[in-house]
Symmetry: C2
Subunit: 331 residues, 2 copies
């Protein structure tokens, strides 16, 4: 296992300490593995997300003005415990309450919801949105129902902008839910990844084999198949997404996400093909985001997320944001 | 070879077409493999850079307000021809002329300088800066003298800000040269990368072997050694950099660059260690940039670049920029 780390058991703590060292606007709450904005404005709704580590820049990379108030980190590919989530709420929420954005994995849902109960006992007002954007499989290894993957970042951006402009908890929850309801994603993987504490790949793929619909923890997808061209990959991923939700004649925001080990060159080739497919099918792509947004350590592969836009979502998507991994000037 | 591409011989064209499709402010000059700002302001100095492809986001990712006017792409790891560079000058330069930022590789230097001669015959005023930031080796496979690597991005950012605020060619050249003179970089690699047209790795490293000082095309470094901890990697890279230039008591900007296949988790762990080492040695790191800035396709590894700041550089580093790969709000 070739990784630039120190002790495998310390990777999460050392990563979070590194994030704090280099980003002056962020604070690392040691012992709870939470990254928060240094000076959260507690008059506004706190937007909190998180999950297992290994998906960087998700989620700490989205903490900052216009997006998250705090990100809670679990161990690599493991849900953060309720006390960590509770700590994030305590550190960032005030009278306006907190909205928790949860990716649909059983552990995450259980632990975030338990934290909400604990927070309620301390007088905090909370609400939650569960993101289930991955159309690949109806149930999966770690989830009942669809998995939450990279489309979750659209929820962070848009709900974060709503919270930043002072909208109330119910309004922020409503728009976050609407983004979740209008986002579909699907991915493919070409190589496994190696968990630092395990030291070897969690599964194998043949030399010319890829897996369509694989999850961000290496969970099985729809099929293992031979290597495909970028055009075919775009057709397959977009095809499943467009089958699942009617985007015809609608404006869309599109995220072309790398899983960590795929060069940006390939992501842009995929982006060109996705643009072609979407336009052929009558979708009107208005915004593109290309890069590593929600990764699986060094896995090679990509996912495509498509958000069906309305005017409010579009306005909030374009609103200013200043975080390590998403910056937006505002229009 | 597992890559999400179509035909290996078309990767550069398809990548550039993808960049144009998703970034509305950029234009792809077909036939010349140049990405330009859609509406370059020809009253200002045009800032032009480029080189072989495979280093994305370098260089097209830095085209936009406050950075480059145009980026010229060669084939993968191959210098762009003079006619391509000339096309970039024609498309973006006016009476204020153009500054060419060249990484020190023999092919790049020859072709960019030939383009300057051709441009002069057409009446264009040009100047150039050659970046030689890699302290690893005195001469290398493709260079006489030190190689130009990720520290080049500091030149793009600072000279781009100077050009954007309307400074004259000689002033932009002077500050660009000062940034180049005050930047030192060094990298390490853990895996090779595969050129699409070749289909197999260009070299091999043992299962627990890394190479210190390797170049961004896989050129040999200082030594092959066993895998090291992140702390040791930071000590080695920073050690060589600080030996080469006196940063003691000085403010610095630091770029922690991933080579394409290294997870952001590891880059942040390295960043934390670099921060520790620099502070121990009396350097005052004022700005950090962590991510994939100048890659080698899917190579695993990283480089560290340290710029010794003065007040003007710091101001220009913080000036607004809006490009796909570097956004700055301005302070």
């Amino acid at each position: 296992m070739k990784k630039i780390i120190n002790e495998p058991e310390n990777v999460v703590k050392e990563m979070l300490a590194g994030i704090e060292a280099v980003h002056p606007g962020l604070r690392y709450l040691r012992g709870y593995e939470v990254i928060t904005r240094k000076d959260p404005d507690r008059r506004k709704v706190a937007l909190i997300s998180g999950g297992g580590s290994g998906h960087e820049p998700a989620h700490a990379g989205y903490v900052g003005r216009g997006m998250l108030s705090a990100a809670v980190a679990g161990n690599v590919f493991a849900s953060p415990s309720p006390d960590r989530v509770l700590a994030a709420i305590r550190e960032t929420a005030g009278e306006s309450g907190a909205l928790l954005v949860i990716k649909n994995y059983s552990g995450d849902v259980m632990n975030f919801e338990m934290a909400m109960e604990l927070a309620a006992m301390e007088g905090f007002k909370t609400a939650s949105v569960i993101v289930k954007d991955d159309v690949a499989v109806p149930d999966s290894t770690f989830s009942t129902g669809r998995r939450g993957i990279a489309g979750t970042v659209f929820v962070h951006k848009i709900a974060g902008a709503a919270a930043e402009e002072g909208q109330a908890l119910e309004a922020v929850r409503t728009i976050a839910q609407r983004v979740a309801d209008n986002t579909r994603s699907m991915g493919m993987a070409m190589t496994p990844c190696v968990l630092p504490a395990v030291g070897k790949p969690g599964f194998t793929l043949g030399a010319d084999e890829i897996e369509i619909g694989m999850g961000i923890h290496g969970e099985p997808g729809i099929e293992k198949t031979s290597l495909k061209k970028a055009g075919e990959v775009a057709e397959t991923l977009c095809g499943r997404i467009l089958e699942d939700l009617d985007y015809a004649g609608r404006e869309a925001a599109v995220l072309i996400n790398g899983l960590g080990g795929t060069p940006l060159m390939e992501l842009y080739i995929v982006a060109g093909e996705v643009d072609r497919v979407l336009r052929e099918r009558g979708v009107d792509p208005q915004r593109y985001y290309v890069g590593n947004f929600m990764t699986s350590l060094e896995m090679a592969g990509c996912s495509v997320s498509v958000l069906r836009l309305d005017d409010e979502m579009k306005r909030l998507l374009d609103a200013p944001a200043d975080t390590p991994a998403w910056k937006e000037f505002g229009l």
